[in-house]
Symmetry: C3
Subunit: 169 residues, 3 copies
Amino acid sequence: MGELQELVTHERIRRLKYRYMRAIDTHDLAIFREVFCEDARVWFGNGTYSNTGIENILGFFTGLLTPGFVTSHIAVHPEIDITGEDTASAIWRVEDTCHFIAPLPEVVAFPLTGGEVLQGAGHYYDEYVRLDGAWKIKSSGYVRIYEHIQHPGGREAELIVDPNLGVRR
Amino acid sequence: MGELQELVTHERIRRLKYRYMRAIDTHDLAIFREVFCEDARVWFGNGTYSNTGIENILGFFTGLLTPGFVTSHIAVHPEIDITGEDTASAIWRVEDTCHFIAPLPEVVAFPLTGGEVLQGAGHYYDEYVRLDGAWKIKSSGYVRIYEHIQHPGGREAELIVDPNLGVRR
Amino acid sequence: MGELQELVTHERIRRLKYRYMRAIDTHDLAIFREVFCEDARVWFGNGTYSNTGIENILGFFTGLLTPGFVTSHIAVHPEIDITGEDTASAIWRVEDTCHFIAPLPEVVAFPLTGGEVLQGAGHYYDEYVRLDGAWKIKSSGYVRIYEHIQHPGGREAELIVDPNLGVRR
């Protein structure tokens, strides 16, 4: 692949990611069907929330993206590698702020009473595939640097740190 | 427009935006006259603060960017569309933290005593135009996902959420 | 340099920066030796922490990136200028959140008891050089817009603002 085609590919993959991120924070479920391939996999929270196949992913997001989940996720620092004619991978920095206005018992593994504010930092490790000329997310998940959780009612905040900080290569 | 010219145009529009964002947070009023076209329009806070024409925009920013307004605004996730030979549009994610050290009665519509900290998330919807070879902002404004306002003196924080979350397409 | 080579150079410099930022937040000391040139200079905190030469820089980061320093740094808004065949400079917006879990008496100039949370905003002013075909950081430092420091034990937060806000050109 020549230099121009590499740059064009980077731009298309960045744009795919930005469209996906917009879908999360605006609760725009229609976009999810466009950005993932059929057999895509997502793994969030270091793999606690893992789903394979577009219907399972849509089911997960339909349960999550309710009025009680008000969020800002940003993906920056794209380190994109083109790994084949129609495949690519990327590392991204993610920062997210999640206002849990209501508990989300069906999709969130830890106890939430509602009123929590989570501020997280981490890295996405994504895989992409080109199908009929269009780049799609093949797999996407993140490893946390830390999660900071503020609880309602004056309880002290928690900071959960990656136990592998400085160890992972 | 060929692929290379598209990429060059994207780069120029991103750079225009970054220069504008730097002007906001460093209170560098001279930059505003360079980045907007004469008949530009800005609409902030879902349109609460709307100004048309470079002189009105400069007047608005001159009133806003005072020592009592200390801020960090970041624009990420550019989704740029070239819409004509000399026109383009873009959606950007914005995150901002605003420290209102002093009240700003002339420019801010809601009551501020000073001491508030606003953390906002949203999307810019921008229009650009190329004049004599240089890209300029034709219109810029944002729609909020949410605003979180911390008040001084221990008053409980407010979270104001986009009522159209999950509805807007 | 033609337009394509300019875009390729921008991409390489952005990627160099993203790799460096990842090293900071993951405490990956091996990366630092790859991203800096031998006689590089870093100057942080408006120049309070200044180090020249790769060994001094590594020594500084080795002291800083301990389990008591848990952070998220993001660099956005790259304004890159190619200044010669093998030299470039850039302004970047930086936002960082630093959780000081433990005091860092050897590397941090201001008194820390442990438990502080610093949220900073500023601009990096970087210089890059190309050596044997690979872009390296020649110098990197930042000027603050503000630093917001939350202390443990209910002490009131501090906001330290750039005294030159609106003055610097």
